[in-house]
Amino acid sequence: MSLMKSLLAGAALTGLTAGAALADPALIYDLGGKFDKSFNEAAYTGAARWVEETGGTYRELEMQSEAQREQALRRLAESGSNPIVMTGFAFGDVLTQVAGDYPDTKFAIIDMVVEAPNVQSVVFTEEQGSYLAGIMAGMASDSGTVGFIGGMDIPLIHKFECGFAQGFKSVQPEGSVLINYTGTTPAAWNDPVRGGELTRAQISQGADVIYAAAGGTGIGILQTAADEGILSIGVDSNQNALHPGQVLTSMVKRVDNAVYEAFVAGADLEPGIRVMDLAAEGVDVAVDESNADLVTAEMQAAVDEAKAGIASGEVAVHDYMTDNTCPAS
């Protein structure tokens, strides 16, 4: 009898919590992990800011394998979370299938476009931010050779590479950009050892500024660059403070803003494509006390000029993903 009682009480409690969680937003991190010091951590920062300002609560899930994506989305949607924000292009296919089954739930996907009446697709103009990073690399490089190390070899990362190369070539038209990718599987996001060796390989070929767009692999790239005494450029989150004075800048993607704004909008999240570009402060190059000595006045002026040029349309930065080619390489 008492067992029955506690079971009933338990069931009632579950019902209550489910009710309370009704309008809570949810955030799903991709395989890189919540604290990757990069892309996913930026999403977490945005959610944390929302919690701080509104005192609300949200649910979060971290993907451990490819197979969990659909299950995670359905679980959150069925338990009433709204909106559900997910970081990473890899959710694209799954969301396309799932979104239609939950017409009353709003979804936001970052870095991917999914056409559905209840989905907001947030895309960043990484090529513009990378272009600015390329300008800074071009002005900081004495050897005329800079490097780019990508994580997994996918079109999105080519977008970074292409923007970076265009920015660099705009300063040093005769210079060369060395390009490496860590791998072709998701393991390429978490291989600092290989990242370090790729960095050494590029240094031996003359690179003196290396741009790392490689998630957790980037930790190894920035470390080796600092050990070998050359400059590096971080990505997604502000990574300047990882090696103060040795990271030229970080191409920050304000994923935190995207998540924050989606959480604030709540169930009224506007569907459609949301472009976070330079004008919307979606991308930028980070300047703070860690790299203040590295960024010269001319460099800052060149960056500001390029920003104005991009805003006015005078400077056109090619987006790799529109036609899968890059004019600069």
């Binding site: 992990g33 490496n180 072709t184 978490n190 060796e197």
Partner: protein
Amino acid sequence: MNIRESLIAILVLGICVFWALADGAAAQQGIGSALRLMTPLLLACLAGLYSERAGVFDIGLEGKMLMAAFTAASVAYITGSAWLGLAAGIGGSLALSLIHGLASITFMGNQLISGVAINFLASGLTVLIGQNAFGLGGRTPALTGDGRFGPITLPGAEAVADVPLLGPIYSGLISGQTILVYVAFAMVPITWWVLYRTRFGLRLRAVGENPASVDTAGISVTRLRYTAVAIAGILCGIAGAYLATGLSAGFVKEMTAGRGFIALAALIFAKWRPWQALFATFLFGLLEAIANLYPNLDLGIVVVPSMFMNALPYILTVIILAGFVGRAIPPRAGGEPYVKER
């Protein structure tokens, strides 16, 4: 050693000489990179060699290395000493080895399943403990100063730096590595000597081929196998510590990135022999270094993409397994728990 036996060695040295003649400076960097990349492979490969030669298959090399990398980085960060980190790495790996031994020797479980379980266990535990301890999502904070193994300059390296041929090889490649690289290379002749020149080695090999005969001779099969599994744990521990405190400066989740499996491939490639293991892992390290230096290797006739280079270790292993280039015959009693009485 006949010609067939030393095929890999000839191949590897051939690539090195060809590369050095084609582009000396790049070859020096590339071969140096290969030496660094092969060290964890070599250690893990020798670990697998001890274990499998004693009749205990070990596909948990990856998990043990990962656990060792994590414990090494954590302790090195907390104490600020890479040596204490190394000890902790060996400890972490040994603990998993003991689980493997317990499951597959004492309880006669399936060795492959136990190995898979160890890989999963390590992958989950490292992130879980790391997150609780440091709050960085399974990463450990970056190591600095004495928390890392730094490069060692060997005596006379600067003096001979300008001597042609000897200079680049001695001061550019052999000198300037971390101590764990020298440990790994020293393990090759030691392993050879232990396996083929000591009583322990003879018994170890016998227990992997025919444990019943060893038992009949009055020697404990269980004890021998436990010893072998423990040696494997120590070697995986050094490999993991090298990854986290020698090659990089801290632990990142899943940082072994499949190296334990490449080491297994190398073990098959080397047909469970120590010297061949040295050259097989050198070959795999060299392939990775070439892929790193030349993302699109232009050989004149064809352009080889780096993806192909990265896949080559696996392709070569399949070729060896298929029996095209000599047969790889595993220890006969491998994979089977020894049952004394039915």
